[in-house]
């Protein structure tokens, strides 16, 4: 059997699968986004920009997503950076692997059930009851933007820690020694050496968290109680309740476009930072 034929046969199943289950469906979404809603729900073929002109009708979902997603990304970064720093610079080699696994593992477990856990912690019997007992008032936490942000940081923290860890771990430690030898106090070394050199990791982490957050549905619907809704919630509503497929397709295309802009921005930034374009293993 020729080498060429072997390659084709090996690639055929995966190729067909990607064609039928990925490329074709994405083409359908684009075509549908220029269509119209059928009277009884669903889709009728058309070539119109009505759906895109209608996007402002779902402005609240876009606004919520485009404010809470960046906010959640920044909060995750602020919490993740010191942990990544600790893992890369201070943790003993013996424990480092285990500690890293402990960061990765939650990311792969059910986000549905992990978000559900916060209903207990933020609900009336949880943190508010504790605060009340301490005499700090009885704030309402569940079904607020605060609860959604907590869920976001909790769910996506691992995704932020790993790329930052990788960039800090690769950092040439001799640079820090040189900085210290030249009389820079530790904090100044951090600001002038460590932080700039870990920017590629920060950029990767922020990009990953942000684009995954753009499509989030579970966290706002479980912890936001219908009051804080994302584009994902609008999409579920459009497809499964109001059955307005054409409009839903237009919202999906817009969502993917916003993501593409983010990724391009990231690529541009990475080129400017001159960072290594290695894949960060999230596995």
């Amino acid at each position: 059997m020729s080498k060429r034929l072997t390659t084709i046969l090996l690639l055929a199943p995966a190729g067909l699968w990607f064609g039928i289950m990925l490329v074709l469906p994405l083409c359908f979404v684009v075509v549908f986004s220029f269509g119209d809603r059928a009277a009884e729900g669903g889709y009728v073929p058309a070539l119109t920009l009505t759906q895109y002109a209608n996007l402002p009708a779902r402005w609240a979902a876009f606004r919520n997503t485009l404010t809470l997603a960046p906010l959640g990304t920044i909060l995750s970064l602020m919490i993740a950076y010191p942990l990544a720093y600790f893992l890369a610079m201070q943790a003993s080699a013996k424990w480092r692997t285990l500690l890293l696994i402990l960061v990765i593992v939650p990311f792969w477990t059910s986000i549905l059930i992990r978000s559900y856990a916060w209903i207990f912690i933020l609900g009336g019997q949880g943190v508010p009851a504790l605060l009340n007992w301490l005499g700090l008032g009885n704030p309402r936490l569940i079904n607020t933007p605060f609860a959604v942000l907590t869920g976001i940081v909790y769910g996506y923290l691992p995704l932020m820690v790993l790329p930052i860890y990788v960039s800090l771990e690769r950092l040439d430690k001799r640079l820090l020694e040189a900085s210290a030898d030249l009389g820079a106090p530790p904090f100044r070394s951090f600001l002038q050496v460590t932080l700039p050199l870990s920017l590629p990791g920060i950029a990767t982490g922020c990009m990953l968290v942000f684009i995954l957050l753009m499509g989030e549905y579970l966290i706002p619907s479980i912890l936001g109680g219908g009051k804080v809704f994302f584009i994902g919630n609008a999409l579920v509503d459009l497809f499964l309740q109001s059955r307005n497929w054409a409009f839903g397709a237009a919202v999906s295309v817009t969502l993917v476009l916003v993501m593409l802009v983010t990724v391009s921005l990231y690529m541009w930034l990475m080129r400017r930072l001159g960072g290594a374009r290695d894949d960060v293993s999230l596995i």
Partner: protein, 272 residues
């Protein structure tokens, strides 16, 4: 610094512990601990809706992870060392499969398959006019197909990292010693990449078993365990859901830690 790290680990694991803790509640309330009991595990496992959802989830996870491991490995082997246009297209598709949000993949699959079925089903009626025409609908098969897509991308990514770190001279040596390609594959390549395949299978299984959003769109009338849990949560929190949640988390944790061990053991240099 250590104290800070400990606090973050607590933040990551306390919620999981909270669910596990309340799942052993003897009382009926989800949030008031009334003594220790495993009754809710018994109740959950004798609830026919739960067992049915569990069976569906298990079938889908097992089938899609197996398909992904086989086809993904084949594709990764073909792509190894390949350059040119096919490679660029393959990389782009893998990237898109992983990066496009699950919700968009779910929606896209739903509208594509429903439309295609709408075209094919009348044809089938015409081909089988005797009233026994098979009709296509969203369900188990569409769910397996959608999960296989993401999992296949996952397997290819894991294996690519492994194959690129592999010593090619081993395969060349095998060929120099006149081993036919299939023998080289069986005796050299496969043992080297097997940990990667196994880890990919375990991760794929976990992904499929935990996925909610894609299944929500493409499962048709089927109910997977995450779909069951989600609709139950909307009706309120119960110790039964805590018991199911604890079982799901425990399953994922065992699979994930196995995957990590397999991957890390596999990368260690063999003894000289």
């Amino acid at each position: 610094m250590k104290a800070y790290a400990a606090a973050v680990y607590l933040f990551l694991y306390v919620p999981i512990a909270v669910i596990a803790f309340f799942s052993f509640n003897a009382g009926k309330s989800a949030t008031q601990m009334m003594g220790f009991s495993v009754q809710w595990y018994g109740k959950a496992l004798s609830n026919p809706f739960v067992t049915e959802a569990l069976r569906t989830s298990f079938t889908v996870a097992l089938t899609s992870a197996t398909l992904a491991a086989v086809f993904g490995t084949m594709a990764a082997l073909a792509l190894q060392g390949m350059k040119g246009r096919i490679r660029v297209i393959a990389d782009a598709m893998i990237y898109v499969a992983v990066m496009v949000p699950g919700i968009v993949i779910g929606i896209a699959t739903l509208i594509a398959l429903v439309t295609l079925f709408g075209w094919i089903n009348p044809l089938l009626l015409r081909i089988f006019p005797d009233g026994h025409a098979p009709q296509l609908a969203m369900g188990l098969v569409s769910l397996i197909a959608a999960h296989t897509l993401f999992s296949m991308a996952l397997v290819i990514i894991i294996l690519r990292a492994r194959l690129s770190g592999m010593d090619r001279s081993l395969m060349e040596a095998s060929a120099d010693l006149y081993a036919p390609p299939l023998a080289t594959f069986r005796q050299v390549t496969l043992p080297l990449i097997f940990p990667g395949i196994l880890a990919g299978f375990l991760l794929s299984f976990t992904f499929s078993f935990d996925d909610f959003i894609i299944a929500f769109f493409v499962a048709g009338s089927e109910t997977t365990l995450p779909i069951y849990v989600f609709s139950s949560i909307r009706r309120g929190v119960t110790p039964e859901i805590n018991a199911i949640g604890t079982m799901v988390l425990a399953t994922s944790l065992v699979l994930l830690i196995s995957a990590q061990l397999v991957l890390r053991r596999g990368t260690r240099a063999p003894p000289a």
